[in-house]
């Protein structure tokens, strides 16, 4: 998430004991993720490419999908016509690309859906999801616990989500609200940003102005969090603590150093792209996951959202993106 030159992707390197790591039949994997000038999406694409590199039997054909669902549909149409063995896609919007998933499956190409679910189960072979609701839940739980420990009775909690019209944002907010409700707390003010640092700064500035005193703040995204933290510094505020989201390297470093209001972040890791490529390879070769009894890869996998704090930051340092 920063302009540090070494940008090591999250890759699972094969260990020799795993039979699945041995080269098998060649698999052509088609890959498509939306274009976004966002660290998380950039990391998704980078991870997928790096993981494919790690296998000698995988050829990755990645098609960039422009700015919206329509563009991605067009890109996938050309991809399907090239008949890859498996398609891995992070759809712009699961519902809007459901028809494309169905089309590929009907053409006999197994589809691995990354992150944004298709409503129709026939539209995918495997679904790997981050847990948006769980992410909100984790953030809410952390904040609830901390505030309860401080004995706050009627705390003022702020929230800075990302693009508000996205469903994933809605899910995160729902999870957050559900967790706070457990403690009898609720959000006092919510100012959406757009997943970028400059909008994060603007949203946070507004929020801080609207809440002259605050106890806790959840910012959904560490990338926009750069701006949020800047705004907090500019407003000279420190009476509250903040929880981030996604788990960027910069955020994890800041938590470890413990020199700002940022005390924790809840993960939503782009490492799912690496896993998706590994599993797509197995699907293409007709293999299962070797630790499981089943002969085939399961249909759905949901990553757990983990909470990174000062205590465990060192462990996660390598997973930051």
């Amino acid at each position: 998430t920063s302009n540090t030159p070494e940008n090591d992707a999250q890759v699972k390197t094969g260990d020799d004991t795993n039979a699945n790591a041995q080269p098998g039949t060649k698999v052509v994997i088609g890959f498509s993720a939306p274009a976004a000038d966002h660290g998380w999406i950039a990391a998704i694409t980078a991870n997928a490419k790096a993981q494919a590199q790690a296998y000698s039997d995988v050829e990755l054909r990645s098609v960039e999908a422009g700015a919206d669902a329509a563009a991605q549909r067009a890109a996938l149409a050309t991809l399907i016509s090239q008949k890859p063995n498996v398609i891995v896609m992070l759809p712009h919007d699961g519902k809007e690309l459901n028809a494309t998933g169905l089309e590929a499956m009907r053409a006999g190409i197994p589809v691995v859906n990354l992150d944004r679910a298709f409503p129709s189960a026939a539209a995918y072979r495997l679904q790997i999801k981050g847990d948006n609701y769980g992410m909100g839940l984790a953030a809410g739980m952390y904040i609830g616990e901390q505030l309860k420990a401080k004995g706050a009775s009627n705390p003022i909690i702020g929230e800075i989500p990302g693009i508000d019209s996205l469903e994933l944002t809605q899910e995160r907010t729902q999870g957050f609200n559900a967790a706070l409700a457990v403690y009898g707390f609720k959000v006092a003010n919510r100012r959406p940003a757009e997943f970028t640092a400059d909008t994060g700064q603007a949203a946070a500035t507004s929020l801080l102005q609207a809440l002259p005193k605050m106890d806790a703040l959840w910012n959904h995204d560490d990338d926009q969090g750069i701006g949020v933290l800047a705004a907090i510094k500019q407003a000279n505020r420190s009476e509250f603590f903040m929880v981030g989201g996604a788990g960027s390297k910069a955020a994890i470093d800041a938590i470890a150093k413990d020199d700002s209001v940022l005390k924790a972040t809840v993960t939503y890791s782009p490492s799912m792209a690496s896993s998706a490529i590994s599993l797509a390879r197995l699907i293409g070769q007709g293999k299962g996951m070797s630790d499981l009894v089943e002969l085939q890869v399961p249909k759905e996998i949901m990553l757990a959202s983990e909470t990174i704090t000062k205590e465990n930051a060192a462990k996660y340092a390598k997973l930051g993106f």
């Binding site: 274009a35 054909r61 990645s62 098609v63 960039e64 422009g66 700015a67 919206d68 669902a69 329509a70 563009a71 549909r73 067009a74 890109a75 149409a77 050309t78 016509s81 919007d93 699961g94 519902k95 809007e96 690309l97 459901n98 028809a99 409503p119 508000d164 019209s165 996205l166 469903e167 944002t169 809605q170």
Partner: protein, 337 residues
């Protein structure tokens, strides 16, 4: 005193007058051909397969269909001296409204009716604000953009609404005489737009209202009412586009058709419509849309990364306009000699 034949200059004047718009369009056809040649040169494997080529043409046309319909409406508004920044938002509102569970319960007819009426009504509001509220079109439709997207988000609860109606969803997959239904719809709207602009009093008055509003008023045209109708027409086109897009995505959401306003305005202008009003062609606007969707297609088959795509796209747009101008100027030069 008077001879029957027009003096030679006068006739050449006239030939040139007709050639102006035809040449412009020819220029755009040239740009399209160049784009296709680049496609064939970079991906000979794909272009050597005739079935693929045929399908690719349909893909390009289908991609162009919704934005093409919007551009027809936009072209009218711009020729009439206005601008409509709310087209994307109208599509979103119409699409979302048409796919609420309540609307879907009325079936395909109810959904289509809803989309069209929502588009029309929003267009009428735009037009009324501009004509009778005397708001600048830019501001009025910008305000509408913001409001309509907000209302769409409210109605949809910020969720993507899935269309469960097969009739609607099948619009995007049906073919008629081997040609996709969406392409037929585009063709129909373009043809209707052409006739409306060039062969009806409404169209001619549109040119007058945009070209010289004072003259239009002095000639007894109700400029305000006409302006309202222009925005209503644009809204109606958005309603049609909303159905087309909803069918393609089998769903609608508040953020759909994002920035369509920019694409539609750009296509109209590349097609030779004056942003200041009073001049424009429907066929040119169609070519403008096709240039954009062919560029997108070219990028897709060559799998350019988004950032390279964007860097190149700006260059292609500039080149396209320059080619068009070059052809235009040098040819009229030849004709003049």
């Amino acid at each position: 005193m008077i001879t029957e034949a027009a003096p030679p200059e006068v006739r050449s004047e006239r030939r040139r007058g007709i050639d102006e718009s035809v040449l412009r369009n020819l220029g755009l056809v040239g740009v399209l051909i160049i784009l296709v040649i680049i496609g064939a040169a970079t991906r000979p494997d794909l272009y050597s397969d005739p079935t693929w080529v045929k399908n690719n043409i349909f893909t390009i046309l289908q991609q162009a269909s919704a934005i093409g319909v919007v551009t027809v409406g936009m072209t009218f508004v711009i020729i009439g001296g206005g601008i409509d920044l709310s087209v994307g938002a109208i599509i979103a509102l119409a699409g979302v409204w048409a796919t609420t569970l309540a609307t879907q319960s009325y079936g395909a007819g109810g959904m289509i009716f809803t989309a069209l009426v929502v588009g029309l009504v929003v267009g009428l509001i735009n037009g009324t604000l501009i004509s009778y509220g005397r708001l600048v079109p830019f501001i009025a439709t910008l305000a509408m953009l913001v409001s309509a997207r907000g209302l769409a988000a409210q109605i949809s609860g910020k969720q993507t609404q899935v269309s469960a109606n097969d009739t609607i969803n099948n619009i995007a997959t049906t073919r008629l005489l081997g040609i996709p239904l969406l392409v037929w719809m585009l063709a129909l709207v373009v043809a209707a737009g052409w006739v409306l602009l060039n062969r009806t009093t409404f169209g001619r008055r549109t040119v007058a209202v945009g070209g010289n509003p004072e003259a239009a008023r002095l000639a007894g045209i109700n400029v305000k009412l006409h302006t309202v109708l222009l925005y209503a027409l644009s809204g109606l086109c958005c309603g049609i586009a909303a159905i087309m897009l909803t069918s393609q995505a089998t769903s609608a959401q508040a953020a759909m058709a994002n920035l369509y306003e920019l694409d539609a305005i750009a296509a109209a202008i590349i097609g030779g419509t004056l942003l200041s009003g009073g001049r424009g062609t429907i066929i040119g606007a169609l070519f403008g849309v096709l240039v954009f969707s062919t560029i997108t297609n070219l990028f897709a088959i060559n799998n350019l990364s988004t950032e390279v795509q964007n860097m190149v796209k700006g260059g292609i747009i500039v080149a396209a306009v320059l080619i068009q101008q070059f052809r235009f100027r040098s040819l009229t030069h030849l004709l003049k000699r």
